[in-house]
Subunit: 468 residues, 2 copies
């Protein structure tokens, strides 16, 4: 389809989406009713049923679709090259979290309900309504509308739906390796993220990576009595506390040598946009009982949690920690900690630098052991990319609100797999809201997220078809 | 008895001790056979039996002796003012630790055995042989020899034997308060400590005090996800580690402001004597797998553990500490720690200074709670006291080795009670060895500790009778 075709047809496509929204909802309900809980072997057949249902829908739209076996739950792959120009790979997952505790649900988690709200919103309440069945179908339904109006898609589209996202995607990396030729496209589209707020769409372009480490320090070969050895014998908890304390600079940065090598300042355009975002710094901390930001001085909270690397201590244990008191000099002390990483930081280099930092602070007669709990680099989309700019533009038109370039402090390891195995960047565009209770009882997806999500993808496909 | 009398009779007293050592051993065996385990109510009648036995022995020697009830196990008080000059109060305890695990004993713990060793030593093996029945009777048997030879004691003697030492002496303070007029003497003699080594006698003159504290730090009102809040939200384990680390100066001292106020340098004479002691610094640390002294630089290990105050961390817990990994920002973190104190340090002042130190390092939006686990000041005998010098002289003659002025890093809270309730200093003179396995299976007391211990006390009583 050439650019003018897409532009000319878009209004009709959007009308079709609105006209057929009830049928779109009914299809979402069908998918939700399949209890595809990936972690529980009792639902293995349901996972396959969900995969078959998706492949059937794609085939019905004219995709070349198939269900592919893995060691556990199958993948669904689809291709539709009826369009021209850019080639996107849309990723989503059809598996869901367990529903326990069932007693906290107001209705059957696998019997979706439309629940009107006092403010005029309508919630689709069910397990998977938001994460990720509702979000996934926004894209499929957008394709359906294009096919209905024009008989084809504006661009070349491939799809990959997995059934193991909620159990850490064990089959994804080997599957991508096997299918790298087949799945290689210009960009991955991922619909598993939130809007900025109920009115403001967002493209998430920055996800921090993470390096997870555990250290165990051993000083004496047994616990000692502090009356006899106190002062003269090294105390493992003192050594550990000194090391943990040494990880931060006085102004809140991370003190590991070379930690910030390669870390770039936020592009001015992004910084400016974030300053325009209606973010309530006081409320963000106040909601959890805090009022003073920690971390690097002089940087906003959004910048700190989205775009700056950090070091966090997750657990420390050592010595006597039960009721009462014991004047022991502990021989051993343990800590779990992680570094959240941003673009430019190589997890393996940071790991080596961290080990060097710790070893340099170990008394010579004590020892330290490191336990590796995994690592993944940060994911960052170049914000001047044409596809990103087109997506932002399409979202801004649909929602009549400037689309935000967002970050997220957490990590989505699958993005790293797409980058490593297929060399592809990802665009994260989602219509969920932060209050969707994903993974919790009474999960919901706003009906407006679904309808305007479908419309948003219809617009994005048109925008991608435009010649640069 | 005047000085010359005592001097003239001493040789005969020592001969009497040696001639009657078998009867002395038999009396020790009788006391050991009474299973006076204070912590176990099943042995309450045995505790009273041990008290009655001791009162009977004292009465037999001409003491005015009686068994005094307390809330739990009775005290035995004796007085013999047949002598002249100084008045001493000899303290010991007749209760013993439980014997579990019985299976690790080579013989019945309450049926004492003389067990010859390959090196020519003989061990008295039984529960309480060393702690404290054997040590306690060295003094009683010395009195017996003096009575046998001269019909009286060289000086005025009172005795106090308790039955609750192994359960933290709950009745001692109230008892001392009630009997302060009756028990007030010039000095307390305590026979519950070790020799320097198998050949070198020692008087322990310094015992460190202790201040025991627990702190709990609370930052956010719940645990947070480090992907969302990492960097911006305060981490309780980071705050705690910073505080713990701040307690030590770079050169190993304690950094709490005013901590060393009132702490005096070791007297030159003591320092010189400690340098002469055959103390194996490498062996002391090597035995527990260490090689580099911690604590204050430039001070010997003996000085550090006996005469310098310290801060030790006994336990830290916070966040996720089980198997695996959880990227939580912990809301709470706890530590137990203590300060060992020396002469000149007031535990209550140190407590206030410690709280001030912690509060000054708390972020304003976080809070800290302190839990008091008790405190006791250090105990230090003036080393230029006449009685101490006389005791050192008597020990040096008996053992033909310069008696050591020793410290101990631990605390013996009863000494504080004697000081507080009766205003009396204590002289700690004991003949145990560090390898006596007190509180453990196969506890032993060396036969030579017993015989030469009795002889030592006989000499000390004579020395105390000498005019200054």
């Amino acid at each position: 389809m050439n650019t003018n075709d897409a532009k000319n047809h878009l209004d009709k496509v959007l009308d079709t989406i609105d006209a057929n929204i009830d049928a779109s909802i009914e299809r979402l309900f069908e998918l939700i009713r399949i209890p595809s809980v990936s972690t529980d072997p009792a639902y293995a057949a349901d996972c396959r049923r969900a995969a078959d249902w998706l492949a059937g829908e794609l085939s019905g739209l004219g995709f070349e679709a198939s269900v592919r076996d893995t060691a556990r739950h199958p993948m669904v792959v689809g291709h539709d090259h009826s369009g021209e120009g850019p080639h996107v790979l849309f990723y989503g997952h059809y598996d869901v979290q367990p529903v326990d505790p069932l007693s906290l649900w107001n209705s059957d988690p696998f019997e979706p309900k439309l629940v009107p709200q006092l403010n005029g919103d309508t919630h689709i309440v069910a397990r998977g309504a938001s994460d990720d069945k509702g979000q996934l179908l926004t894209f499929v339904e957008a394709c359906r509308a294009w096919k209905a109006v024009t008989g084809k898609l504006p661009i070349r589209v491939s799809t990959l739906f997995e059934g193991e996202e909620e159990i850490s995607s064990p089959s994804l990396a080997p599957f991508l390796e096997k299918t790298s030729e087949e799945l290689k496209a210009d960009v991955v589209l991922v619909c598993d993220t939130d809007m900025w707020d109920a009115e403001t769409p967002a493209v998430t372009t920055m996800l921090r990576g993470v390096l997870k480490e555990e250290i165990e320090i051993t000083c004496a070969d047994r616990d000692l009595h502090s009356g006899i050895y106190g002062n003269a014998a090294r105390n493992a908890l003192q050594v550990l506390s000194d090391i943990i304390s040494s990880l931060r600079t006085p102004d809140g940065g991370v003190a590991v040598e070379g930690f910030y090598d390669g870390v770039e300042e936020l592009p001015a355009a992004v910084k400016a946009q974030w300053q325009r975002l209606p973010f309530d710094e006081k409320g963000f901390l106040g909601d959890v009982g805090l009022s003073i930001p920690a971390g690097e001085r002089g940087r906003s909270i959004l910048e700190q949690v989205w775009a700056r690397p950090t070091c966090e201590i997750h657990g420390i244990i050592g010595g006597y920690t039960d009721e009462g008191f014991k004047t022991v000099i502990p021989a051993k002390a343990k800590a779990k900690l992680s570094f959240r990483l941003v673009a430019g930081q190589d997890p393996e280099k940071i790991r080596v630098a961290f080990h060097t930092h710790v070893r340099a602070r170990m008394p010579e007669d004590c020892k330290v052991e490191f336990l590796d709990h995994g690592a993944s680099p940060a994911t960052v989309m170049p914000i001047d990319g044409a596809l990103l700019q087109k997506a932002l533009g399409a979202l801004t038109v649909e929602w009549e609100r400037e689309a935000a370039i967002a970050g997220t402090g957490g990590s989505i390891p699958i993005l790293g797999e797409f980058k490593r195995k297929l060399g592809m960047d990802s665009l994260l565009i989602g219509f969920a809201r932060f209050d969707n209770r994903i993974h919790s009882p009474n999960e919901k997806y706003d009906l407006s997220s679904y309808r305007k999500g479908i419309r948003s993808w219809a617009r994005i496909l048109a925008a991608f078809a435009e010649r640069d």
